[in-house]
Symmetry: C2
Subunit: 101 residues, 2 copies
């Protein structure tokens, strides 16, 4: 599998971020062509102390070509643009190849 | 679901890291009591430029209690200690609650 992983830092206004994420960003992201799953991982803590990460989101695709097409699509570009606007605590986007060990 | 997520920075010696990850770290991690899946996400790239992350690993558990017991177990502590020794490019450990959106 292939994934786009979005690592969000802790946003400045939690309530505004949550509302935008739920009402605007999630429906926008789920419109990406070929997306199989959209998984939201909410950070609870870290054995290293207070984490600077808030959410790690996974957009999951069956293969690399489908992922690349989705990122280049209008829906993908809209979701990306929206993510950076929303991410007042910073955002790192990564593409990954995923395998069970 | 609950996960421990390990974000590894790009290591100093790729070959040594890969060998250690495959031969020592993976079997050690899979011994953690209650672990359902160990997923390795290898970073391919980023639309933001050359990424500083190398691997994002997920240790997946059915519930929070199982995850916490696994982290506190001898096997969990061994895996954690090994991870920090191996992570010459840095390591961030996070606990997360995971849901499909």
């Amino acid at each position: 599998m292939y994934k786009v992983i979005a690592i969000y830092g802790v946003p400045k206004d939690l309530a505004a971020f949550e509302q935008h994420y739920r009402e605007i960003h999630t429906p926008l992201t789920k419109k990406m062509p070929g997306i199989e799953k959209f998984v939201i991982n909410r950070v609870l803590g870290s054995p290293q102390g207070k984490p600077s990460q808030y959410i790690i989101a996974e957009m999951i695709f069956k293969d690399k070509e489908t992922m690349e097409k989705a990122m280049a699509s209008q829906e993908g570009r809209q979701s990306g643009k929206d993510a950076f606007q929303m991410a007042t605590g910073g955002l790192t986007l990564l593409t990954v190849e995923s395998q069970e060990a």
